[in-house]
């Protein structure tokens, strides 16, 4: 029973992936827009999406896999409910990003590219959010916060 329902879910996912890929296929260089749209839809790029995209674009699966793995932003596993993008570039370093980074990892109990065991947060490093005059910077999903002290980090994480 459960096998069949997960099979159905896979079929409908595959149909959705195909629909997304076909929407962009007539554009010049459609692969990145397709991958973005799939990640927006699922939160990540499921392994099962690769052969479908490959077929629609008439590329090899290896080529699709190569593109997905080249870019830091694309992920192949499900993220936590929210993703914390912590800036670790120089302007933030100048304002205590190294300390904040240690604090964040300790508070969440995870390293970069990991998700907390309760599935609430994924922690990702990022190299510049363009908020360098208000460092250190942190982006939660798609909202950027500035002058993030360890205390402010705690209250932001506890809030969401």
């Amino acid at each position: 029973m459960s096998d069949q329902s997960s099979g159905n879910a896979q079929d409908s996912d595959a149909a959705l992936v195909r629909k997304i890929a076909e929407k962009y296929v007539s554009q010049l260089g459609p692969l990145l827009p397709i991958l973005h749209a799939i990640q927006d839809q699922f939160g990540f790029i499921p392994t099962s999406a690769v052969p479908v995209i490959a077929e629609v674009l008439n590329l090899s699966r290896a080529e699709i896999h190569g593109v997905i793995t080249f870019y830091h932003f694309f992920r192949e596993t499900a993220p936590g409910k929210q993703t914390l993008y912590l800036c670790r570039a120089e302007a933030c370093q100048a304002m205590g990003a190294r300390k904040l980074e240690r604090h964040a990892k300790e508070k969440l109990g995870v390293d970069y590219h990991e998700t907390t065991s309760d599935g609430r947060f994924s922690l990702e490093p990022v190299y510049c959010l363009g908020n360098c005059a208000c460092s250190p910077a942190l982006m939660i999903d798609d909202f950027v916060y500035g002058r993030v002290t360890p205390e402010r980090f705690d209250s932001l994480v506890d809030e969401v």
Partner: protein
């Protein structure tokens, strides 16, 4: 009557929002409602005076008065003080335009930033928008390229290549289809000028790209915009739609019969895609692996067609050059660096923000004069200029004028104009190590000096810092840097050693066993 309502401006821009401007805007609406005050809230971009954000402005008799930084808790007190009628408040700063930080700048590219509503074409036109394109559509291609060449404009992304020469190459290259691409993958730490212009004045970039398209006979343009800038993506997409419906983009640009269509393409978090050939690969839907040059993108770029690749600030500087003439722009600047530099004060700085000013001021004048020294109040130990591949500039070099050639003589670079300030608590050994680590994370992997050299660089620095064969490893580190500089295919591996070498040369006391 809408005219009776007092205009209040609260920025909708990433830096202002990161410090609470959304809450401030909400509070202003709520308190105004409670008090029965008639307020027209405008969500402008930011003027780039980030240490004053959230900066609230009130327009009284046509003059904008500034209050900042304002938190949501202080909004009630603003109303109590009668800020809508010119009442005094402890956070009152007087007329915005008279703030010395702003008054002493030469705002050409950023003429409208923070002043207009970013998504109002009317507001854009009232402040001089589309005057450049209006002139351009009446000129032939050669004449437009001549004006841009004559202005002395050079690539603001960092390489400082003369824009007019690049455009002429695309104009004269053979090809039925040509493209204009905008590199908005602003990945250098310490830089936010591209983001600021896209969020505060998106039409200026659209206008600049349209002029570029008409100048070289390109009918399609792409903005490769970093995924780390969600608000800029949203605003640029909305602005493009508005420009299309008003006839500024599409098949008949401003009634000229010329076609130019524009599209935003979202990047995916790879620093290397700020390198132009890597960006083109990415736009084509491939891994962002750099290409050998030649051929130049101007000859064979996007899908092999002649392609302009310019930075956001370069393209956004074009409209004013067309509107006011080459000479007007050229009159700013010094030596071979003409026009304005958009310096970005970042990191540990008291008054961080955007400073657009003619080339030629010294680093000290910008960082101490505008920036006011460090945020922590401690002495400045170093300034990293030009992003993660830029040298750490020592205080003994702070009187160097900010122009491309003067910085090159130091072995440093202005790059995209980011100035990251560090106080005396910085560990320069850690900074040198990070330069190599960053290169190893972001290398595209095509060439060995960059891919392997950066990893060896981290290891060698670790050995030095832990006291293993210190003097031999220092020699090895310099040799490794030389190999990377001379042997890498692009600027990532070729310049990542610059911050390391600057630490070896100017801060050797931090690069030893501890």
């Amino acid at each position: 009557m809408a005219e009776d309502r007092v205009k209040v401006f609260v920025p909708r821009e990433t830096a202002a929002r990161s410090l609470g401007s959304e809450d401030v805007a909400l509070a202003i609406e709520q308190v105004a409602l409670e008090r029965g005050e008639s307020v027209a809230l405008v969500r402008n971009g930011s003027r780039g005076l980030f240490w004053l954000e959230p900066l609230v402005e009130v327009e009284i008799d046509g003059v904008r008065h500034a209050f900042g930084p304002i938190s949501a808790d202080e909004v009630n007190s603003l109303f109590e003080a009668g800020f809508l009628d010119g009442g005094n408040h402890p956070k009152g700063l007087g007329p915005t335009e008279e703030l010395p930080y702003l008054a002493e700048q030469n705002r050409l590219t950023f003429a409208r930033a923070g002043i207009t509503d970013p998504l109002s074409l009317d507001s854009y036109r009232v402040h001089g928008g589309y005057e450049g394109l209006e002139k351009a559509v009446k000129l032939d291609c050669e004449a437009i390229v001549d004006i841009v060449t004559e202005s002395g404009l050079r690539g603001r992304g960092g390489a400082a290549f003369p824009t007019g020469i690049k455009w002429r190459t695309v104009l004269t290259a053979d090809g039925e289809q040509k493209y204009v691409t905008c590199n908005a993958d602003e990945g250098d730490s310490g830089t936010f000028a591209d983001r600021l212009v896209m969020e505060s004045d998106p039409f200026v970039l659209i206008e600049g790209m349209t002029i570029a398209g008409i100048a070289v006979g390109a009918t399609e343009g792409y903005i490769y915009l970093r995924t780390e800038y969600p608000l800029a993506i949203e605003i640029m997409n909305q602005a493009i739609k508005l420009a299309e419906s008003a006839g500024y983009l599409g098949v008949d640009v401003m009634g000229s019969g010329k076609t130019f269509c524009l599209e935003v393409r979202e990047a995916a978090g790879a620093y290397i895609c700020g390198e132009e050939t890597s960006m083109l690969e990415s736009l084509e839907g491939k891994r962002g692996v750099i290409r050998y040059r030649p051929p130049l993108p101007a000859i064979k770029g996007f899908f092999g067609a002649p392609t302009i690749v310019n930075n956001v600030i370069t393209l956004s500087s074009v409209p004013i050059i067309l509107a006011r003439g080459a000479q007007y722009y050229k009159d700013y600047g010094s030596g071979r660096s003409r026009g304005t530099l958009t310096a970005q004060l970042a990191g540990n700085v008291k008054r961080g923000g955007l400073v657009e000013i003619g080339f030629g001021k010294t680093l000290r004048e910008i960082v101490e004069g505008f920036g006011g020294g460090t945020a922590t109040g401690r002495p400045i130990r170093a300034i990293q200029a030009g992003g993660p591949l830029g040298a750490y500039v020592h205080p003994s070099q702070f009187d160097t004028p900010l122009d491309y050639e003067a910085f090159a003589e130091l072995g440093a670079m202005i790059g995209h104009g980011g100035l990251v300030v560090f106080d005396d608590t910085v560990d320069m050994g850690e900074q040198a190590r990070f330069a190599m680590e960053f290169c190893s994370i972001e290398s595209c992997g095509k060439c060995t000096p960059c891919r392997i050299g950066s990893i060896r660089g981290v290891e060698v620095i670790d050995r030095i810092l832990s006291g293993v064969d210190e003097s031999a490893n220092l020699v090895l580190l310099r040799e490794l840097c030389d190999t990377m500089v001379a042997g890498s295919l692009c600027a990532l591996g070729g310049m990542a050693p610059f911050p390391v070498l600057s630490v070896m040369d100017h801060f050797p006391e931090d690069l030893q066993a501890r």
